[in-house]
Each structure stands twice: as C-alpha cells, then as structure tokens.
Symmetry: C2
Subunit: 113 residues, 2 copies
C-alpha cells in the first residue's frame, strides 16, 4: 500500500505552516527539489508531519506541522532550504502565501488508511 | 482572467480550518455539492476566504478562513452544511482530518494575479 498522504500529528497544540502557491509552467528542477525538501524536513527537530496537494491548475497547498514555532523557523533558516526558497521566488512560483498558525483542535476519521 | 485561487485574507490574527481528505473513486454528486458549499460559505458571517487543491491521487486540502472560531463553528452547524458533512462521512471521503488553527503571521508574494 502506498504511504498515507495524511500527517500523523499528535494531539494539539502544535504549529502548522500553510504554504499556498501557484506554480509557473514547466518543471525546471521543481519536482526533485520538492522531494528533497520533504525528505530533509522530516529529519528536522520538531517536525511532526507534512501534507501536500496540487491540482491540475497549478495551485497547491502544502502544510507542514511542527512542535513549536521555533522549530518551524529553524527549518525556514536551514542552510539547504534557503537557496531553494530563493529559487521558488525567482522561478517556480507565480505567487504564494505563507501562513503560520497554531492548531488548537483536531479531529480525524479514516475508513481505510 | 480566471478568479484567483488565493484567499484574500486580512492581516492576522484570524482562524483557519484545515480540511485534509482523500476522496473515494467516482463523483457521486461530490463536485456539485462542493461548489454549492463553497458558494454558501462565502455568504456566511465572518467568512474571509477559501483555498482548495486536490491532486490526481484523490488527496486534497481545503482551508477556509474565518474572523473567529465562533464564525467557523456556525458554518459547521449550518442547516444546509450538516447533511453534506454526513454524505462526506458516508461516501465521498475514504478519510479526512479537520484542524482548527489560529493564524498569527502571514506573508504573500504575487508576480501576476
């Protein structure tokens, strides 16, 4: 069975970083970089999970979950993450919005996972 | 130009309701109901915006933004929304997770919108 796309987050509270973006056409190294960043994020202190979806129109939402805002900020400042953020601004994204939020309540339901 | 997929949210703080879900195969009335719910949500008190993305694998993330948690809860309890939630549990979703969060910081960048 394929890996679940759901993040297995603990009981709240925790921090969610919501990244909404619209991709420019073409790959230009995006897919490989996104995969590398997802793998690297999973090894960072305080990482709790990652969920991501992108439609055929190029609009996508990625949410990463962290134990604390300090952990999320440390990932933002990671030496390998910074140049990838710059490439995002310079080419991969026609636009994006980043929101940092504190999750206070969560409820899940799975039929088969 | 097509309508922007980005929610035009005000300065934080505000509330985000994150709904991550995996669809079961087939439409079964889902697309029409989702469109109706999005239209109806936009008319509710405290509604600030809606963003949604779903990939070809059926996994999607929808985030609705609200002025307050009370406004988000009122939408959850809306008389036309409740039976649609039940249909979601009974058929449209193989699984979902709902998280309620308070957005404290936001940053945006648009090249063309």
């Amino acid at each position: 069975m394929a890996e679940s796309p759901f993040a297995r987050t603990p009981e709240p509270p925790y921090v969610a970083v919501l990244f909404s973006s619209r991709r420019t056409p073409g790959d230009a190294g995006y897919a490989a970089a996104a995969e590398r960043m997802a793998s690297l994020a999973r090894t960072q202190p305080g990482f709790l999970g990652l969920e991501s979806a992108r439609g055929a129109d190029g609009f996508g939402i990625t949410v990463s979950y962290w134990r604390s805002e300090a952990d999320a900020l440390a990932w933002k400042a990671h030496v390998e993450h910074l140049p990838v953020q710059a490439r995002g601004r310079q080419g991969w994204y026609a636009g994006y919005e980043l929101r940092v939020a504190r999750v206070g309540r969560a409820r899940r339901r799975r039929r088969a996972d």
